[in-house]
């Protein structure tokens, strides 16, 4: 995709779609825009005023983003201008050769797979694909993969294993697609095969939740030697809306559900589900994309470096141990 089709928001704060809790930020952003307009169309000096407004903006953003509720975090994770897999592919990688299809049924657009080069590392990239335009969003079912998507990912991961390439998995899905075709073709089986299969792959796997980590659909490409989350991503057993609908028969109580589910990067680190949180720029990844992508690149490279050259048997055993004992309170369960 060419740059012109991408939302032109990198570095330009005022063009992002506002989230409900960002009202204050948005007001200041609008005033700054007005001032800039004024400055360019007249000879009035707004330098001091602009400086003061920008300081206010910084403070308001810091204030808002340091106290995001879990439900607000979900909002940031789903932000329409938040970088998605395609953005990371285009802006973070030095080379990407896309490989399509599961060679059995089809090519699921909700899963992107291909050979990647980034700095000193080559690897296989697998990731959920969400669209950036309405057309793309429909094509990718809003990031909800079908069984053929999971089987496509599996096929490419097996290729990576054969070629001795590590795997980087980017998670960003509301969940696996709930539909007739998906069930007919074994959605549960495809996800289960991936989960158990990833415990046998003899190459390093780094998993990063970049936006939404929706349940089994996320876990279907979610087993790795490292599991990382972006600061404003979430990872949950069920969507807050789904949880609220079941518990209180009231989808409008999603905020309460988000709170109860402990789905934020911070909470999941405390519980021991994730290894590391990648910090995002002030105001979220959708505000300073370049900065975000640079941080992600450096972090992924660090993990790939650390995992390089490990004995495959030991690595697989360590990976199994990691998930066999995941988030366990020490001594709670017996050993066999």
């Amino acid at each position: 995709m060419s740059d012109s089709k991408r939302p032109q928001n990198a570095g330009s704060k005022s063009s992002t779609t506002p989230l409900p809790f960002e009202q204050k930020i948005q007001e200041i952003e609008a005033k700054i825009d007005e001032l800039r307009e004024l400055a360019s169309s007249s000879s009035i000096d707004v330098g001091d005023q602009l400086e003061s407004m920008e300081r206010q903006l910084e403070e308001a953003t810091a204030r808002t983003y340091s106290h995001l509720s879990p439900w607000e975090e979900v909002g940031v994770a789903r932000h329409p201008q938040r970088p998605v897999a395609s953005d990371y592919i285009e802006e973070m990688l030095d080379d990407f050769v896309e490989l399509h299809g599961d060679r059995t049924f089809g090519d699921d657009r909700a899963m992107v797979t291909g050979l990647a080069t980034m700095g000193s590392r080559r690897f296989m990239l697998v990731g959920h694909r969400k669209g950036r335009t309405t057309k793309e969003r429909l094509e990718t079912n809003f990031g909800c993969a079908h069984p053929e998507g999971y089987r496509k990912a599996w096929r490419k991961m097996k290729l990576a294993e054969k070629l001795g390439l590590p795997i980087v998995s980017l998670i960003n899905t509301p969940g696996a697609y709930p539909g007739i075709g998906a069930e007919e073709r074994g959605q549960a089986m495809a996800i289960a095969e991936n989960i158990i299969g990833m415990f046998t792959l003899r190459v390093p796997i780094v998993v990063l939740v970049i936006g939404e980590g929706g349940s089994g659909g996320a876990l279907g490409i979610g087993i790795g030697d490292r599991v990382l989350m972006m600061e404003h991503s979430y990872y949950s057993v069920i969507s807050p809306e789904g949880c609220a609908a079941i518990l209180w028969k009231d989808g409008s109580r999603s905020a309460d559900a988000a709170e109860a589910l402990k789905l934020t990067a911070k909470d999941l680190t405390a519980l021991g589900v994730v290894d590391e949180v990648i910090p995002e720029p002030l105001g979220g990844a959708h505000r300073r994309r370049d900065e975000t992508i640079a941080t992600v690149r450096a972090t992924l490279l660090r993990h790939l470096d650390e995992l390089d050259g490990r004995d495959p048997d030991e690595m697989i055993e360590a990976r199994r141990d990691k998930f066999r004992r995941i988030a366990e309170i020490e001594g709670r369960f017996p050993s066999v």
């Binding site: 959605q187 089986m189 057993v237 079941i246 995941i326 066999v336």
Partner: protein
């Protein structure tokens, strides 16, 4: 889905919302009805159902498949198979155990592990309170019963999910016990037999319950390497995170007739697509036609079928005379051995099954 309204509500509340409802399919069931009729009379006599209050309500209940009113006692005596349409009602774990393993052979393991409310999750009541109530009601500490047992004289590790306990939902304890069962099987060189009935992951434990999908698969991947057999029997209903993890990646996957099996629950799919679902969708008969199951086995044949499958576990390529020649294969082999004056398994050592039969015939 359990019969009572209470249980139905419970299942919906406890799980990630992938619980069960929907149309039934009887096509395959009907085709095998006659065959089963004979077997049932002989075998069901062995089943003794406890008089526990696990099906609350009146004397009569409505079959969710054929809508006929059934006398509760009659249903229980029939192994909870609808006498009118053969629909297989969800079986509580203890009843399943009784119908599956040899009398007095069951040695329960890890029965004391209890759930923890690590998220301090508030439902209509706090999760901790919900657990306490469920423990009280079921007399069990969690939703999975596991241990070592014998099935027709064959040593196995069994693990049975209990739908009565928060809809068979998988939280940390259920995931851990499935994994421990796999660990024991691996340590002792035994096959593992798992029965599922579950609405999926247990919402109240958030991502901790999601991680059980990974945990159980980790344990199972280790068991797979030892070569011992893993068998999963999916019973009504098996959905969500249980279907999408250990249940689907056992070596052999069987289902009971009419069982609802899927990833997303039919309600979720119908709501997403805003359309009615095809008849028989997500039922065992639908899945076997799509190639997702090894077989559908009626309840009263399961014990024998599992015993016969276990005969093919790792290291059994040489047919030895079994202590209990209960299966057709064993009986046939044993008969032939006697007929040919061959009372030991010595002379046949190393001869493949098919060849051996040929030799015996000569």
């Amino acid at each position: 889905m359990s019969a009572s309204k209470n249980d139905k509500d419970t299942s919906r509340e406890e799980t990630e919302g992938k619980g069960a409802t929907g149309a039934s399919s009887k096509s395959r069931t009907e085709a095998r009805e006659a065959e089963r009729e004979g077997a049932k009379k002989g075998r069901l006599a062995r089943w003794r159902f406890s008089k526990k209050k696990d099906m609350p309500g009146g004397l009569w209940l409505k079959c969710e498949a054929c809508s006929n009113l059934i006398y509760r006692k009659e249903l229980e005596e029939a192994g909870r198979v609808c006498p009118k349409c053969q629909f297989h009602f969800t079986l509580p774990a203890r009843e399943r155990l009784q119908s599956l393993v040899d009398p007095d052979s069951f040695l329960e393991m890890f029965e004391d592990i209890e759930a923890l409310d690590r998220l301090e999750f508030i439902d209509s009541v706090p999760y901790s309170e919900k657990i306490a109530r469920t423990v009280q009601r079921t007399g069990q500490k969690e939703g999975l019963v596991c241990g070592k047992a014998q099935i027709e004289g064959r040593s196995v590790v069994v693990a049975i999910l209990d739908f009565q306990f928060m809809g068979g939902s998988m939280g940390e304890v259920v995931g851990e016990k499935i994994s421990l069962a796999c660990d024991v099987a691996r340590r002792d060189g035994l096959p593992v037999v798992i029965f599922t009935s579950s609405g999926g992951a247990r919402m109240h434990e958030g991502a901790l319950s999601l991680m059980q999908m990974a945990k159980t698969c980790s344990a199972l991947s280790r068991l797979h390497e030892t070569g011992n057999m893993s068998i999963c029997v999916m019973t009504h209903p098996t959905t969500g995170g249980v279907t999408a993890s250990f249940a689907s990646v056992c070596d052999i996957v069987l289902a009971e007739p009419g069982a609802l099996i899927g990833f997303a629950g039919p309600r979720v799919i119908a709501a997403t697509l805003k359309q009615e679902l095809p008849k028989g969708f997500q039922r065992a008969e639908f899945l076997i036609n799509k190639g997702m199951l090894d077989d559908i086995v009626p309840r009263d044949e399961l014990r024998d079928r599992i015993a016969r499958l276990l005969d093919y576990d790792l290291g059994t390529h040489v047919v030895r005379r079994s202590k209990q020649p209960a299966t057709k294969t064993d009986r046939a082999a044993s008969d032939r051995s006697v007929a040919s004056g061959d009372g030991t398994d010595g002379p046949d050592r190393g001869v493949p099954n098919r060849l051996r039969e040929g030799i015996s015939e000569n």
